[in-house]
Symmetry: C2
Subunit: 410 residues, 2 copies
């Protein structure tokens, strides 16, 4: 008998029929003798509908009131699932964030969980009751206000509850059946991974694999909560995100991530002196533009080219600021590209294998793909290429690193 926290997202809760499907799944786990805590999101589309209503009145109104209205989406879905579980013969009880309580800080719309009092949930579990907890929300105890954790916050709620209750596993149910070596829509030979490390998952999540919300992965890693991604609709083992440093699959590379929403800006011919990076990025940060890659090569003739990428939505703002700066700094000008993408190889195995990057560049060159920028970390290599080569690059790398086949056990 294990204690399992299961999180079901908005798609899994998208209709009465789907809620009843979730109830039957939970009932199945109860019948196997497991203790289950369920965390749910709002029915799909509901949070958007509510926030749209609020924004139609006041686009930049008091975030406290946005949270007050947004939190109703989960409050409805927990009640519906509790009713559905009882209909399946499973004793259940719904909990809003404040009823648990899940205590957060005061940062409305992006609150962070500070503490969870698990005593009520534990009493329910001991009494054979399945607690159904609203994801995404909590209470700011200093003011008594309802808070929300921001998009994808239900994953974080699930992981935080699993940590607080010392659960054996946190299962995140979604509409895909696990984490893949890359996006199967781009490379049909993409393969589901049985296991992946937290670090790899973090890199994959931040690089555009939208399976798990990044903060929940950090949280799970920090509190050592075994995390599993599974499909609500198709039975299977899913992908376990594991604490083990080296996985049984002793692969060099776990997966290929990519991000289509990049735009590149290069401040060319900047005087090469200390503080220049800060001088360029400071105003960008002040304008709340998030910078992704940053590349600066060693300069020649006393100047250097400083390149960074941003989300395409922020491109116009970043360009305006950079042009102004270029003038002030005496740079030659600003070059840009918006038809670019980032492709990244991720794997803990590359730490000890120097050849990964060069193998990657060779494979891309062999396919005639020009690399515009390169950036590396301990467990990933990212390149920026022209958007038209994205699919070709992903398939080329997937094949070059043999990702379509599971590595043989060492």
């Amino acid at each position: 008998m294990a204690l399992i926290v299961q999180k079901y997202g908005g798609t899994s809760m998208g209709s009465v029929e789907r809620i009843e499907h979730v109830a039957r799944k939970v009932a199945g786990f109860r019948q196997q003798g497991h203790q289950v805590v369920v965390v749910v999101s709002a029915m799909s589309g509901e949070t958007d509908r509510l926030l749209k209503l609020a924004k139609s009145i006041s686009p930049r109104g008091n975030p406290r009131e946005f949270d007050q209205i947004a939190a109703t989406g989960e409050q409805a879905s927990i009640a519906l699932l509790a009713l559905s579980l009882e209909k399946c013969g499973v004793a259940a009880k719904s909990y809003t964030g404040w009823q648990v309580p899940i205590k957060t800080d005061s940062a409305h719309m992006k609150a962070r969980i500070q503490d969870i009092d698990g005593s009520r949930l534990r009493a329910d579990l001991d009494a054979g009751i399945v607690p159904v907890v609203a994801g995404f929300q909590g209470i700011d105890e200093s003011s008594g206000s309802v808070s929300t954790l921001g998009r994808g916050g239900s994953d974080t709620t699930g992981v935080a509850l699993a940590a607080a209750l010392k659960a054996d596993e946190c299962q995140i149910y979604t509409d895909v059946d696990g984490v893949y070596t890359t996006d199967p829509r781009v490379e049909p030979k993409a393969r589901r991974l049985d296991k992946i490390t937290f670090e790899e998952m973090l890199e994959l999540a931040s690089l555009g694999s939208k399976v798990l919300q990044i903060r929940s992965v950090e949280f799970a890693g920090k509190y050592k909560v075994p995390l599993r991604v599974l499909s609500t609709f198709v039975d299977g083992p899913g992908t376990l995100i594991t604490l083990e440093e080296s996985t049984v699959e002793d692969a060099l590379i776990s997966g290929i991530a990519f991000n289509r929403d990049e735009a590149q800006l290069t401040v060319a011919g900047v005087p090469d002196r200390p503080g220049i990076a800060a001088a360029i990025l400071g105003p960008i940060g002040d304008a709340n533009v998030e910078v992704d890659m940053i590349v600066q090569n060693v300069g020649a003739d006393g100047t250097t080219d400083f390149t960074y990428t941003v989300h395409r939505n922020d491109f116009d703002r970043a360009l305006e600021i950079s042009r102004k700066l270029a003038g002030e700094l005496g740079a030659k000008g600003v070059n840009t590209a918006t038809d670019i993408v980032k492709v990244s190889l991720v794997g803990v195995g590359m730490r000890s294998h120097a050849g990964i990057a060069s193998k990657m560049f060779t494979a891309l060159a062999g396919a005639g793909i020009n690399i515009r920028m390169i950036s590396t970390s301990e467990i990933k290599v990212s390149v920026v290429i022209e958007e038209m080569y994205l699919e070709l690059a992903v398939r080329t790398l997937h094949k070059a690193f043999g990702l379509e086949q599971a590595p043989s056990v060492a």
Copy 2:
């Protein structure tokens, strides 16, 4: 400067435009220097939508979960109004039932308010903030569960808050501009009353004038909260429900109420012995059928006819039970009528005027209307007549008692 509690119903909150209209009204009161607490219902149709969703899963599920989902309707509307007020330059803060807190008993879906802690709202008022409170809901502190007060409960919330805060007036905004001498759709000459006593309002409310929820009127009378009914959409003084025993308008009759949903059952030829009324009504009550009028005349030849009326929805059930009983009691049979209505004259003035009833019967006879049943209380006379005569009866009585003209001040 007065402290006013204003309650706006679902129709007043029915759209973003209407919510903004309400915000402007509240802003107007603030500009006049008044302190305002606003109580709102869910946007019209929302509570029904939510309960329908819950019922589609489990028609008779745990009432706690029904309350959990139903309460989200008001939680959304308080946030929307608070945002709208801030947009109008009025500092505002939304409160769910548990945030006030409004403490209730544990009777889910029909909870009663037990205590209101007004300290947070008072602090807001002192700071120039308009608290926007969710109607219809509270918290059962013994379990920490969300509770709801049942249909029309937002009126009760408004009155209870006014009592707790010792407000100068509780204003109930609705889609009519006050209480009328009778339904203007039936008698176009119906006149808005400037004042009416609580007792009269109670009789009018219970007899079918759906302006105010009956429990809120009882509550207002008990806690001596001056109550005013006004229109959200048309400016005007509305109708004040007053504590004064005799109003300035020293009228005999305040209004004419009627109820179309009556059905009559007569158990004929029942042996006339003690306990017979209980024997007939006991099983009806056990079946959760609410009985309205009860008439039993003195018997002749050792038997009597026992007549009662029920809501038409309950007619079939009542008939089945009564037929069974008639057999057991040795009665002659059960006669019924479903095409009947009840028309009632209401007025505190009739206490001291014996002639009201006979004047009523004379007027109806003059119009050729046959009276099937009569029932009287201290401040009302009700008759049951055939449904086809309803409009004629109301207009005849309205004229006979001179209700189209305001009485001259004594």
